[in-house]
């Protein structure tokens, strides 16, 4: 193994260690927040009825409520690790089952949005990066506005135009069958994508402009290398690094914002369920979904980091120089 590989390896190991620490702290915060929440878990379990002391003790022992805080945290974490996230107070079902039945909607929505962001955002950025003129100017203006558009405002505008006026897409619900589900997810996916798409388009455009100005590109131009090859080999390859990372970071951030879009469109996804449980104080569900979303978010951010190190060897060279 050469020095470059060992530097790479050290980077990955350090990143992995940070990932584990982040997840541990995040899970601790989630557990502690719910632990500190006003309200008595026994009262929630018994539905507010007063219990005889014997059954109280039985319940306390079963849910480890008689143990110190840190022991309770440990029980919760190891259970969560085995896929047991407790029981929903309102629905009396396993939180993991409730999550499992809703995860595909959220995953589909985030995936659909990511495709839109990458295809349209990067595409628009590349086009306006290479071609100055009307397209470039209008892209700049439109992205400046849509980068500031909150997802729920984008959602109601899309419903108004495409569901109510044009009636191209449905405005509510999940749909049945693959084609119908995709149709139902189209407006939500656009609403979720719109502001990230604008940011990705602008970063892409700027990255391409930056690369096109560089000396090696100018040299290639003066050597008479054909435009298509110039763009592919000299500009896009270098610009790919910032484009990939900004796409990764924005896609990771969709996970949390998806909740808002799911609520507007009445989608039975994780985020909408999280909000509903937060309102009804179904804290086991809030804990479970928060843990899952934070984990996904952190893992995706680490993947972006690792991808960056793979794409750009200078990352590891930099740390070797120290």
């Amino acid at each position: 193994m050469g020095p470059a590989e060992s530097v790479h390896l050290r980077f990955f190991v350090r990143r992995l260690a940070m990932l584990l620490v982040s997840l541990l702290v995040a899970s601790f915060v989630i557990f502690a927040a719910i632990y500190l929440a006003p309200g008595n878990p026994i009262a929630a379990l018994s539905g507010g009825r007063s219990l005889p002391p014997d059954s109280l003790h039985v319940l306390e022992a079963r849910y480890h409520l008689d143990q110190p805080f840190i022991v309770q945290y440990w029980y919760w974490l190891s259970n969560a690790f085995h896929g047991n996230l407790g029981i929903s107070i309102t629905l009396r079902e396993n939180v993991s089952d409730l999550i499992a039945s809703r995860i595909s909607t959220t995953a589909g929505l985030v995936l659909y949005s990511s495709i839109l962001i990458i295809v349209i955002g990067v595409g628009l950025g590349i086009l306006s990066g290479f071609k100055r003129g009307l397209l470039d100017t209008s892209t700049l203006v439109i992205t400046a506005i849509s980068a500031s558009l909150p997802a729920f405002v984008a959602a109601i505008v899309l419903i108004l135009v495409f569901a109510v006026q044009l009636q191209w897409f449905p405005s509510l619900g999940n749909g049945v069958g693959f084609i119908d589900q995709v149709r139902h997810l189209t407006l939500p996916a656009f609403a979720l994508a719109v502001s990230s798409l604008a940011i990705v388009a602008r970063v892409t455009r700027a990255a391409i402009r930056e690369e096109a100005r560089r000396e090696h590109v100018q040299t290639a131009v003066s050597r008479g290398i054909p435009t298509a090859e110039l763009i592919r080999r000299h500009v896009l390859r270098n610009a790919a690094i910032p484009i990939t990372t900004i796409s990764g970071i924005t896609v990771a951030s969709l996970i949390a914002v998806a909740a808002v879009v799911e609520v507007v469109f009445g989608l039975a996804g994780l985020g909408a369920y999280l909000v509903q449980s937060a309102q009804s104080k179904d804290l086991a569900v809030v804990q479970g979904i928060s843990l899952l979303l934070v984990t996904t978010f952190v893992v995706m951010n680490v993947l972006v980091d690792v991808l960056y190190a793979v794409l750009d060897p200078r990352v590891s060279l930099g740390s070797r120089a120290q």
């Binding site: 500031s148 108004l160 990372t245 914002v257 808002v260 972006v304």
Partner: protein, 288 residues
């Protein structure tokens, strides 16, 4: 320092660099929108022509009339009056987030840059861990635990945004710390606190103000979303996020004005803050 976070900052700088420099009309328009919104937030209840909370179900979604310029909402309340009164909570929440976040972020950034070594490592890795929480998620969690309302989400968002602010400011503070004039002051025996408060922070002020401006826009989007979800400002209080949610049914029923009007208010103010923040940032960069 996590690479993703550093990259986010670098990408953000690129995103800003994409803007062209000349158009000062944009700057004036942004400032005008912000001044107007601030004025309405302060004087809204005095400006409102009608009682914003008085329902009249016979006026359900009645459209604009000369007396009621934006018509009535789902409960027959005057939309314009509710917009004017709702400006207060809609602006106050983001202001609180911005103030708390900038104070905490500057404090952590300057401490980390000044002390260096193990304290810097501790603060920096603490901030990295905090990156694990997306703002909205932390706000929903806080609202679930401590009850819906403006307070819990505001505190949660302040914490969630602090690493983003502190990271940029720490970099700036490190650069400033390396300047010869700081060393000169230290040699003259000035205390660390005095140097930081009188020299280091004032010299970073352009960056702090630019960050605060952009942050306000982000906080506004997230807080409006939280209120829209029913976990922030509680109805019947007038708030722009709440108004979008209360009148969402009108979109499908063919009465889009009440929900759209509140949405447009949010978007205008956010755009104004974002554009102003970008310009301030560019000016700061140009001055360096």
């Amino acid at each position: 320092m996590s690479v993703a976070a550093g990259l986010a900052t670098a990408a953000w700088r690129r995103y800003r660099a994409g803007r062209q420099r000349r158009t000062s009309p944009v700057l004036i328009a942004s400032a005008a929108v912000i001044v107007l919104a601030t004025f309405v937030a302060v004087a809204g209840p005095l400006l409102a022509p009608y009682n914003p909370d008085l329902p009249d179900l016979s006026q359900y979604f009645v459209g604009p009339t000369p007396d009621h310029l934006l018509g009535f909402d789902a409960q027959g309340r005057d939309v314009l009056s509710r917009l004017l009164v709702g400006a207060r909570t809609s602006m106050l929440g983001p202001l609180a987030v911005t103030l708390m976040c900038m104070t905490l972020g500057s404090l952590l950034a300057v401490t980390a840059a000044w002390r260096g070594g193990i304290i810097d490592a501790f603060i920096s890795s603490g901030l990295d861990i905090l990156f694990a929480f997306p703002g909205i998620l932390l706000a929903v969690l806080a609202a679930a635990v401590f009850g819906a309302g403006l307070l819990a989400p505001v505190l949660a968002l302040s914490v969630a945004y602090t690493p983003y602010v502190a990271r940029v400011l720490r970099g700036a503070a490190l650069r400033e710390r390396a300047q010869p004039y700081i060393a000169a002051l230290e040699v003259q025996g000035a205390s660390s606190v005095a140097i930081c408060l009188r020299h280091l922070i004032p010299n970073m002020l352009h960056l702090i103000v630019a960050q605060a401006t952009t942050l306000f826009g982000y906080a506004m989007v997230d807080l409006a979303a939280i209120s829209f979800l029913g976990l922030g400002v509680q109805p019947p209080s007038a708030d722009w996020g709440v108004m979008v949610s209360e009148n969402q049914q009108g979109i499908i029923q063919g009465f889009p004005i009440p929900a759209l009007a509140a949405g447009v208010c949010i978007v205008f103010v956010v755009i104004a803050f974002n554009l102003l923040g970008e310009r301030l940032y560019e000016r700061g960069e140009a001055r360096r």
